[in-house]
Symmetry: C2
Subunit: 600 residues, 2 copies
């Protein structure tokens, strides 16, 4: 069982929150006026304790003893419930939500930091809470007052849990093709019929009820995504007092058995197939959320939050793997310096070898970069919500739009790469189930898939986000990066070198983006959107590292020297990867579009 210090680095979290993001400064704003740095620290300490004492303790057992399908029920490990109860009891489910619905009204950036601790400790258990929080946020934003009272409040209390039900067996990435139908009953309710697939937390008995948010089509609506509506479909119906009553017709059809992330049930759910007949009638009872046919837009509220959340989870898994491999590299003696291999001398710790240092620096640059990125997104959400001017709030919203696909995909790709390196640092030991890192690697492999695959995020970034609002989101991002580069150039020395490198890569990215946007054929324009996503991600994370470099200043402590070293690593080893990617994009390469599939 790892110590709290092996989940995330406390000094790094404090550096990012306070030195870089000035989170303490948020307490000057009305929304956060009840808080102080002391309350933030107390919250983070409590998170660390719960993560270490309730989550990390059963991380491996959650993997080995994965949820079972028994008598139509999903049985999860007995330690999952108490861990989630501890999160609820501490108020973390509503950490960033309004006090009036039962939240703590903490800044989102603090909640993100909390989430990272839980995910680092046990992502399989944390996912239940993560989904409940996203569900509650969506319903609070788009649901009726009655829906908030009946479903959100019990979720924040930890009595109910939440899910999001989008995919179906024949419709994963292609939501236009969902076929679950919702028939209006004329009494304000609908009855749902269909099958949902890949539903995380889709069934279990951890609380009194499960609040499913379900995408479905009302017959007669427009085809494709324009005909999608959103419904609350509770596992158990509520009586007039909000007490759990009759079973709704949502039935567990089976569980998927995954390579990793095994602690989270992943369910196939049948809606309205007759396992139950609530009120004696066929169909699962659902309550429309918001307007008919506007379901996808509402669900994107949750999806966008979930995407940054996926990035947070990926960062957390990468981060704990890094710390564990660092500990291993410091304590495991193996081999001798290449200059002077005297077998009479004792072996040296792994960390003395240049290649091991490279693997550690790479991990550090990925995981601290990813954590900084998702915290920055949390900070943007706080800006969007509480900044003084309309313009500042709008700018934060635009930045969040353009950064969301990157905050989802970059950590998913590179913190998985970090876990791969964590295994490699451990050598053969890392490949065994005696060490944690192999599980982190398996767990993290989910992240490039769920909540929109890597390919989907690439199309979102290049096809939509960089073009939205007349290019305003991209312009806001460019301005943000340029401003930092300018500060760095003004600072002189190594900062100026890094600033110039960022300017160069950003300039090339913008040039290539403009060239792509002038390509009339969308097939060609988007053919390499995944590479565009990767290149843009590396440029953004170079900015994240330059920000940290500047924040570290010339501080001589290990933390600040380490920030400078990791920034240096990122600019020397990582940012140059974008050169060939952007050249390929600029060439509007048609290798894939011209391919005859018979040649494969």
């Amino acid at each position: 069982m790892p110590a709290p210090s092996q989940l995330l680095s406390r000094r790094d979290v404090e550096f990012l929150l306070y030195d870089w993001l000035d989170v303490a400064g948020l307490t000057a704003r009305k929304r956060f006026a009840e808080h102080s740095r002391e309350t933030f620290d107390a919250v983070l300490d409590l998170c660390r304790d719960i993560a270490a004492e309730r989550f990390a303790t059963h991380n491996r057992r959650n993997d080995v003893e994965e949820p079972r399908f028994a008598d139509g029920r999903a049985v999860v490990h007995e330690e999952v419930g108490p861990a989630l109860d501890a999160v609820a009891a501490a108020g973390f489910l509503g950490a960033a939500m309004d006090a009036e619905v039962g939240g703590l009204q903490l800044p989102q950036v603090v909640q993100t930091a909390c989430a990272a601790h839980f995910a680092a400790a046990n992502v399989g258990t944390w996912a239940y809470a993560f989904l409940t929080i996203g569900n509650a946020n969506l319903l609070t934003a788009h649901g009726s007052t009655e829906q908030v009272d009946r479903f959100v409040r019990p979720m924040l209390e930890g009595r109910f849990h939440g899910t999001m039900c989008l995919s179906e067996p024949q419709a994963g990435s292609s939501l236009a093709d969902i076929t679950t139908r919702a028939e209006p009953r004329g009494d304000g309710t609908h009855r749902l019929f269909g099958n949902k697939m890949w539903i995380s937390g889709g069934d279990h008995e951890l609380g009194e009820n499960i609040v499913h948010l379900v995408l479905a089509k009302v017959p007669g609506g427009p085809p494709g995504v324009k005909g999608i509506s959103l419904f609350v479909v509770p596992k158990f119906l509520l009586d007039a007092d909000g007490e759990v009553g009759e079973r709704n017709d949502v039935a567990l059809a089976g569980l998927n058995h995954k390579m990793g992330y095994r602690g989270t049930t992943n369910a196939l759910l049948n809606f309205g197939e007759g396992a139950h007949t609530p009120g004696g009638e066929a169909g699962a009872v659902g309550y429309l959320v918001g307007q008919e046919n506007q379901g996808l837009a509402a669900m994107f509220h949750m999806m966008n939050e979930a995407r940054v959340g996926v990035g947070t989870g990926a960062a957390a898994l990468g981060y704990t793997g890094y710390l564990k491999s660092l500990e291993y590299a410091r304590t495991r003696a193996q081999g001798r310096p290449v200059a002077g291999k005297d077998p009479a001398q004792p072996q040296v710790p792994l960390v003395e070898h240049a290649d091991v240092r490279r693997m550690l620096l790479a991990q550090k640059s990925y995981v601290e970069g990813a954590l900084a990125l998702v915290l920055y997104c949390g900070r943007l959400l706080d800006e969007q919500r509480t900044a003084e001017s309309d313009a500042e709030r709008a700018r934060a919203g635009l930045l969040l739009e353009v950064l969301t696909p990157i905050a989802k995909s970059w950590p998913s790709q590179w913190c998985l790469a970090a876990n791969d390196l964590a295994i490699q640092v451990h050598g053969g030991y890392g490949y065994t189930r005696e060490y944690d890192v192999e599980q982190h690697y398996r767990d993290n492999r989910l992240n490039p898939i769920h909540e929109g695959t890597h390919g989907i995020q690439g199309i979102d970034l290049l096809g939509r986000k960089t073009a939205m609002a007349g290019g305003a989101a991209l312009a806001a991002l460019a301005e943000l990066l340029s401003a930092t580069a300018a500060r760095a150039r003004a600072a002189g020395g190594e900062a100026a070198e890094l600033g110039a490198a960022l300017d160069g890569s950003l300039g090339r990215l913008l040039e290539v983006t403009a060239a792509l946007h002038t390509e009339p054929d969308p097939t060609v324009r988007l053919a390499n959107a995944s590479l565009y996503l990767e290149a843009a991600g590396h440029v953004v994370v170079a900015w994240v590292w330059l920000e940290q470099f500047l924040t570290a200043g010339d501080g001589e402590d290990d933390l600040r020297a380490g920030k400078r070293a990791a920034a240096r690593y990122f600019f020397r080893y990582e940012l140059p990867r974008t050169g060939p990617q952007l050249d390929l994009l600029a060439a509007l390469d048609r290798t894939t579009t011209d391919l005859d599939p018979a040649w494969l």
Copy 2:
């Protein structure tokens, strides 16, 4: 259970063996005079059948029902033994060995092709045979006639199995630090005392006996690797007639439980700890192989073969994953073309999407490139053994030296990347244990670790192989690649473009190599040896693809058009990655060497 056509592509194997490597032409040589293309084809067909019918059938069960430690014994899945018996019965264990020791005297390149089929079908089961073959080859080359008669012949018959015992708990990559000691008894035998770790196939009851090849130190010898000797230590001693008799003091202390590759037992073995007392005396009975203190050189005979074998296994796992994801992409309908998303139209197969094609082409370029590379190494071994002139044989030997670290590492890195893409093409389904690709990914993750990690291979290539024989090995490689580039330039058209690109990358590689070799400080020179290995690997595989491009010519069939498309992909998407890597190497970057580990 996959069809044989989902293991490796028959038409590709034939293209590589006959069109590219002219393996049929080998039958003109005395060693292979008994063979013909027909016998090669018959051998390959038999391999395919055994792989599909005996190996693939229990690949998943080998994973789920991994070997158990029970009563001091390792119990493997019941289908492993019959599969290995089928391999032995077909004579494949001695496929490339001399007829006089019981081999089939086939070309090594044909044996490599056979091995790839078995590994693609079930790498966990195949590993037992793979180790036995390597063991038998080593003993045949370095053992006495008596050792060959008593141990090699029964191995080729499938009655005995073989292992290699190098690592110890405190000495993995650092063989200088092994502490197992071998005390001479004065009667020509030694008694061994020590612990060996990570021993694949280290214990089981698949045959009558296990022949361990064990590195140990004779007391009083030189320190470090210069004091290492090699011993045969059978699990059961043999009587004068070669029949299995008394149990030797080799005891199974435990099994490692791995993330993948689970079908192969991975054992901790105790030698001479008193579990048995053969002849009433302490110590495990061992027989010196070759000369005292020359053990490491002899073991490298097996290690080099094993390294190419690891590359072959990695290629095979990547290859079958590619074929399975291709099949999935052709049959699974999801989404619509980005130009014209009409929800009234049916969904299109995944293979219609540019990003999926990119993932398939990337896999194709990795797995067919890797298979071609390891077959080429097999062909070099045949050249080394049978080429007409001393000069040709020496040249083949040099090429094999310099290519071995690449043939080990490049497939291990990129065919694992291929398996990652195979999962991604499958979407969520690929992350479940209902599909094969997640297991291939877990299995393949071992390959960058065992038989010398990625880091060790990098140091071998940059520190030793490129400098050996006054640079003759590197020069032979450069000449090989240049000659192909020149042919391509002479061919004009697209071939000339690719030839020019290869020339450019090769020139840069050689320039950077020369610069590195002039750096006096080995710590700095070798600091980025892993990146050197990666860059050199991509240059070599670009050559492999150019060779295939030229071999395909302007043939209009799908196979040849596909070879051209994959070569195009590799030159456009992959080879440019080497630019920033080589620039970093040229800069003799000191980011890692100057790092204070306290900053991590």
